[in-house]
Subunit: 338 residues, 2 copies
């Protein structure tokens, strides 16, 4: 098992890439606190794709997205002094809820920096979980700078959304469960498709699957205009997204791949696929009508990729991660009404 250190340029921190032991430890920490989501099969989906398509529904996870996994893995390891000092995070809304939920269980004060145009459900849930929310303007302000300043003022611990070994190890439990459940079903996986914003879920999943001796290739899926991973993977270096692009996949609008996560993903992902908002909307409708699952735009990109033929899953065994389901009712309904 390779064990190497990654030197983060920003801040000069040294971070160790999690190995399978770290991910297994994360799984033990999560047991009984997080939901062990199932691996679902849908005959209609298999027939539609003419392949074997398994769904990993992280919409069923505590807080409605996979983000609780990483947040719990990080927060549950804080010292008592750190817990008293509190945590600070920035997030479009799913990491926000993950951190807030973990903080509430552990009785840690939490402050989250969120875009003021985040879905109402995400804001209400984060506040409902007892976190203090500070809003910023996605276009004109730097959420990370705001978060770092507040954390420095309070001596609070920063819980990054993806560039952190404990966060990546926590998200990696998704991959661990996929490997276990696919094995139990006797399915040799060809590919796992993972929605990517900052790349933490992709990195964790790829680490876990690689360690499970699985031959499954891990692909990341992004909205068009925010295909920074796809282009960065192709170029072999981190590239940002063009400023001013729009997508309704609010969870996947990170400006570029994470530095730490990209060091992992560059070595381990097979590549990236991009889908249009219209394809994502069609996938959300399909999930509503055929899968009976509520999936938010950013959570539906992997499903969109196979339904729209951006990823050819015919004749293959593929897992699609539905990473989140925190959609506001009104826009959700406009979307599924077509």
């Amino acid at each position: 098992m390779e064990r190497w250190l990654h030197q983060l340029r920003s801040g000069g921190l040294t971070m160790r890439v999690p190995d399978i032991a770290d991910i297994r430890q994360a799984a033990s920490r999560l047991a009984g606190v997080a939901v062990r989501t199932p691996l679902l099969q849908f005959p209609t989906l298999d027939a539609r794709i003419d392949g074997r398509v398994l769904i990993k529904p992280e919409v069923l996870q505590r807080t409605g997205s996979f983000k609780f996994r990483g947040a719990w893995n990080r927060l549950s390891q804080l010292s008592m002094a750190e817990r008293r000092a509190g945590v600070v995070a920035w997030s479009s809304g799913n990491h926000a809820q993950g951190v807030a939920a973990a903080a509430r269980i552990l009785d840690i004060p939490a402050l989250i920096v969120m875009p003021k145009d985040a879905p109402r459900l995400k804001i209400e849930r984060t506040e409902g979980l007892g976190a203090k929310v500070i809003f910023y303007d996605r276009i004109n302000e730097d959420r990370e700078a705001i978060g770092r300043r507040i954390a420095a003022d309070r001596g609070a611990v920063i819980v990054p959304p993806y560039d952190d070994p404990d966060i990546v190890a926590g998200q990696g439990t998704v991959g661990l469960e996929i490997a276990e459940d696919a094995g139990r079903l006797g399915v040799a996986l060809d590919a796992v498709l993972v929605p990517a914003g900052g790349g933490g879920l992709a990195a964790g999943t790829a680490l876990a699957l690689g360690a499970a001796m699985s031959d499954a290739k891990v692909w990341c899926v992004e909205p068009q205009g925010f295909d920074d991973h796809a282009r960065s993977l192709a170029a072999g270096q981190r590239l940002g997204n063009e400023v001013g692009r729009q997508s309704f996949c609010d969870a996947l609008l990170a400006p570029m791949p994470g530095e730490f996560t990209f060091a992992i993903n560059a070595a381990r992902l097979a590549g990236g696929v991009a889908v249009s908002d219209a394809e994502v909307a069609a996938a959300m409708r399909f999930a509503f009508e055929e899968l009976k699952l509520v999936v938010e735009p950013g959570g539906a990109v992997a499903l969109a990729a196979v339904l729209a033929g951006r990823f050819d899953a015919a004749g293959k065994s593929v897992v699609l991660i539905l990473s989140g389901g925190n959609a506001d009712p009104a826009p959700f309904c406009r979307t599924i009404a077509g």
Copy 2:
């Protein structure tokens, strides 16, 4: 294991009550064809109820409801001559899709009698699965008479929605899976709440759980105005619903308990609970927002019963069956918008 015969007054048929061997056989027939739905846990639901509430999501079943189980168990046992003659069924829309899906896989012509005010999704799906649909008027016509006449004309096999041992045994696989998965989780169940229309799912579930040596009490849940099971169980005899009552739980509007199913349910159910349409609507909203599951009105009554406090689940370990998710987008959206 008790094995007794039940003499159906209508038609003078003799039907044997399924035992656990019949239900296990049904499970073998269903393996690889039906979906083995998981037993889901939701920390938010547990916290809200202050109990251990497990969800059996039959919304994830092939055709979006449990009905495929019974239909497949019946149709897969037909002789080649019977298959050629075709099948006839009557249904508000979920049994319709179950029969149509099983018939399509087995290459059997299927004709279904459906109310003309059934949800569009249910009609379209039934037709989309290759069945011929004949419409009737729920208020002024007798669907069973129409179906029996057509079946007699064609020499086709009738596939009843609930009063049939193979149908009951097929639905009983839901109870079998609940017992297995609760056992695996180490949960001793206090109760299982089952939506009831004709009572086939309740009967099958109660038979399976009784045989599993489970102490779980099985309760049926119905819409107010259609609480024929609750009143019949209390009275010890089959009672019908008052004519002219309304509910948006289109799957649960059977006029009275099935004769065969009631003979089973009278001996095995703990009782019945009724919920209002407003309570069902609130449960559908809860399922959308917190469980990320799409549940149709009739499928949400058990969840409504615990959320509205009609069934006190505090301190108990309870399974709620979400029996179907075939909701039309427009009325679904009006419901979750509140």
